[in-house]
Subunit: 333 residues, 2 copies
């Protein structure tokens, strides 16, 4: 029988293992137009923390006691739809489970790009699109700009670093620890800040901006909020643009963000734009085309942190908040 | 002999009277191309606090021991320039003094609008342009929008309220105390919040947005930062636009701004834009034309808080930070 993770209790602050419970799924019969998918790869993403709260947001909260949702890639093993065949590899949102039964209209065949299937949960999927459109559309970054990106070793940030370099920008990345910093540097970043070091981010960013010769930043891609956002405000150049897609620093604590340099946005005419990648889903073709070209040219590097087995799903999810991943965090079923 | 206020010491936190000193100005001879102006009205504005710090900003710091600068309106009493005649009323930046000697190129004859001359330091001057372009250009406010404006009884805010109403918007204003709130209401605001009451701004704004039938705000015009900005984030509608021209809450304290609702900008795709009115100075004609039409139609109300005599200039300036003014704060020489 298929199994899925459910939310047993709504977490207070940092989620605990006891907030999750495995449940059985009775989905022995396949309805008209439905497909059965053996999930191979499951995604955990920071935004899922928001769905664990019972508040109105841009995605509805997880229902207690029911199977959770999230990005997944799997192989179709049974189909009641003419367009989807047994053996097709598909992307869908019925994750957190080993087997999914969903309407065929809710699955997408994997695009024809020369990458392993799980890449469509990371660099070629939602995180990659977040980085791509956030950088190029929301922040309107262009060749010659100095771009600062936080969580630069993560699934979104590592895409930002590489797309920015491919487009002729100067890049300063922030990551936690020497190993991640070295990886971000290997992606092409011109300077890297280790936010886990003793140097405050605001100081480290100032030094990095000096080192790369710009003296400040034109673009900030914000995955984390908090101290990084404040540092970006402190070193923003005139007419800097900030694209904000995540604030992992406050997802669990709910603490107020303290911004010492906020007033700088006036004199420097800074623009701060919040965004959600789903606003750009209708431009996926453009994304696949451009990223496909970079892949073919060997420009893109990709890394994954993989947990094995459905049982490890809560571990993988919790690891997102302690910097447990380099590149995309995945669970292999 | 002409006299001027100088900065004697750079203020720490809230400026004190002892930070200012009156000095004599030796300007008995008039150079080529210069004009001598008997100042009639002097402006004090919150942005001047920034010039008292010795830091790089969008306007250079005041030099210690020298005459300070600021908006002023006066009558030309001597002229070495063919374009400016004795008797002309002019607008210029050599304020904080009773008599100014400046190059004719740095003065502007008052536009031909039927208002008293001091209006060109307020509603028809820099504060009015800040409100006008901030609302219509920076925040892209349009008919039907619900607009929240802080410091709504101030020179900038009272312009925002009236322009917004004239353009078919719903307006929620915030001001301190019953008297100012009543005045803001009389300007046409649909709802008014008294931020000095016991009700937190975030709660009061939620109730006001409910009362005016919008449930949230589409535009926030920020003069103050801090608690008001956080409340605006808490009640921002989808795709809300914030125009930020001032953060008087932190000008003196330099304290970090605490934002509890900052992460809301992601899901609601909020745009926050800092701006400086000088970016729009080349569009002054457009402003005078539109505002002139509203004046002629009797749409615009104006109020001033007037201190008498050059000696009162520091009092007037300090009053800005304790809510001492309704409408534009001025010193009559």
């Amino acid at each position: 029988m298929a199994r899925a993770w459910s939310l047993k209790a709504r977490p207070q602050g940092m989620p605990k293992h006891t907030d999750f419970a495995m449940i059985d799924l009775d989905q022995s019969t396949l309805g008209a137009g439905e497909v059965r998918i053996a999930n191979r790869w499951l995604s955990v993403d920071p935004y899922m923390r928001g769905r664990m709260n019972d508040v109105k947001s841009y995605v509805p909260p997880f229902a207690l006691g029911e199977a959770m949702q999230g990005g997944a890639v799997g192989e179709v093993v049974e189909s009641n739809d003419d367009g989807i065949k047994v053996g097709d590899m598909v992307l869908h949102m019925a994750g957190w489970r080993d087997e999914a039964v969903v309407p065929a209209a809710q699955v997408q065949k994997l695009p024809a790009l020369d990458v392993p299937p799980q890449a469509f949960l990371g660099q070629l999927g939602m995180p990659g699109m977040t980085g791509y459109f956030g950088l190029l559309q929301v922040a309107e970054a262009k060749a010659g700009d100095t771009v600062f990106v936080s969580a630069a070793a993560g699934a979104v940030g590592s895409t930002v670093v590489q797309v920015a370099k491919a487009k002729g920008m100067t890049v300063i990345g922030s990551a936690g620890g020497a190993e991640k910093c070295a990886w971000v540097k290997s992606l092409g970043a011109d300077a890297v800040i280790d936010y886990k070091s003793d140097v405050p981010v605001v100081k480290a960013l100032g030094e990095a901006a000096h080192a790369v010769g710009s003296g400040g930043i034109d673009v900030y891609f914000d995955n984390v909020g908090g101290e990084h956002l404040d540092a970006a405000l402190a070193h923003a150049n005139m007419h800097a643009r900030f694209a904000v897609c995540g604030m992992i620093d406050v997802y669990n604590s709910g603490a107020a963000t303290q911004l010492k340099y906020l007033a700088r946005l006036i004199g420097n005419r800074v623009q701060i734009h919040g965004f959600i990648v789903s606003d750009y889903m209708n431009r996926a073709e453009e994304f696949y085309k451009d990223m496909g070209g970079m892949l073919a040219a060997g420009t893109l590097k990709r890394q994954e942190t993989v947990h094995e087995g459905l049982e490890t799903m809560p571990d993988a999810f919790l690891g997102l908040f302690s910097g447990g991943n380099t590149g995309k965090m995945l669970v292999k079923v």
